[in-house]
Point group: C2
Chain length 135, copies 2
DNA sequence: ATTGTTGCAAAGGGTTTGCACGTAA
DNA sequence: TTACGTGCAAACCCTTTGCAACAAT
């Protein structure tokens, strides 16, 4: 593993947040000013394949990367976009009971209005709830 | 509503499948040869906002549109990409118990190997399960 | 006249890829 | 040498948007 690769991995692993490729790029740049976006992506993809990190997709904005490999899902705030971890015990089993095919994995995305945004505007009303309503 | 708009809506509403904008475009084209992709998207977006149809996003490929407005979620086959409806009673309540913020909506995407693909290759083994593993 | 809808073409965002160069075993 | 990693720029895919022409009221 090159020094650059270690740096990229370290940025993701040492962050407690979910980071976009752009954010990772910015952080890596401080130590490797000449680094290219393509290289960031190539390595993030490799790390994700090798299960060193996890890629979170399906969000409203760009994919995020995280170092937390423990099974969990995510919530995103529809107002500010903030992404948080969601742990739901028995999720897979609960879902499996309802479908015929064998579940490989679940991607649960819980759309919320986070408490911060609720504080800012307690009357948060979705006249027409999220166009991407699941259930 | 213009005749074109009715045609677009009809394509989505009368299909029992989930259709991509490209597929909808192709179908509408047979009656409106000069129709533009931008117009397809503009109208699909409007219909989704008005809750005449539903947009399914977060899939491995492009967003899909469906006429089924009843709350439900989706599964996608990791081998062939096929998307199917998934109905899980009590899903929202089950999830709500585990999170602090108020749930607006859920997007559950169940990654499976569908029975067709299982038949074709009964030994379907994911040496490295889906890089986008939820739980 | 006013408003909304369309085709077109361009731009947008996020991501991937071909290629030549460089670096390391 | 052989293999791999990198920067760069272009391409990619899906989707959105500005604009001028066009309907429809």
């Amino acid at each position: 593993m090159t020094r650059l690769q270690k740096a990229i991995l370290e940025v993701v692993k040492s962050s407690d947040k979910h980071l976009s490729a752009k954010e990772i790029y910015a952080k890596v740049q401080s130590a490797f000013p000449g680094v290219a976006m393509g290289t960031i992506y190539r390595n993030l993809n490799k790390f994700a394949e090798d299960k060193l990190i996890r890629r979170v997709s399906g969000l409203a904005s760009a994919d995020l990367f995280e170092g937390n490999l423990l099974p969990h899902n995510h919530s995103q705030c529809l107002a500010c976009g903030k992404v948080a971890d969601v742990h739901i015990a028995g999720m897979k089993e609960f879902v499996q009971e309802h479908i015929g095919d064998e579940t490989v994995s679940l991607d649960l995305l819980v759309n919320v209005i986070c408490s911060d945004c609720m504080k800012k505007d307690g009357n948060f009303v979705f006249e027409q709830p999220d166009p991407k309503v699941g259930c």
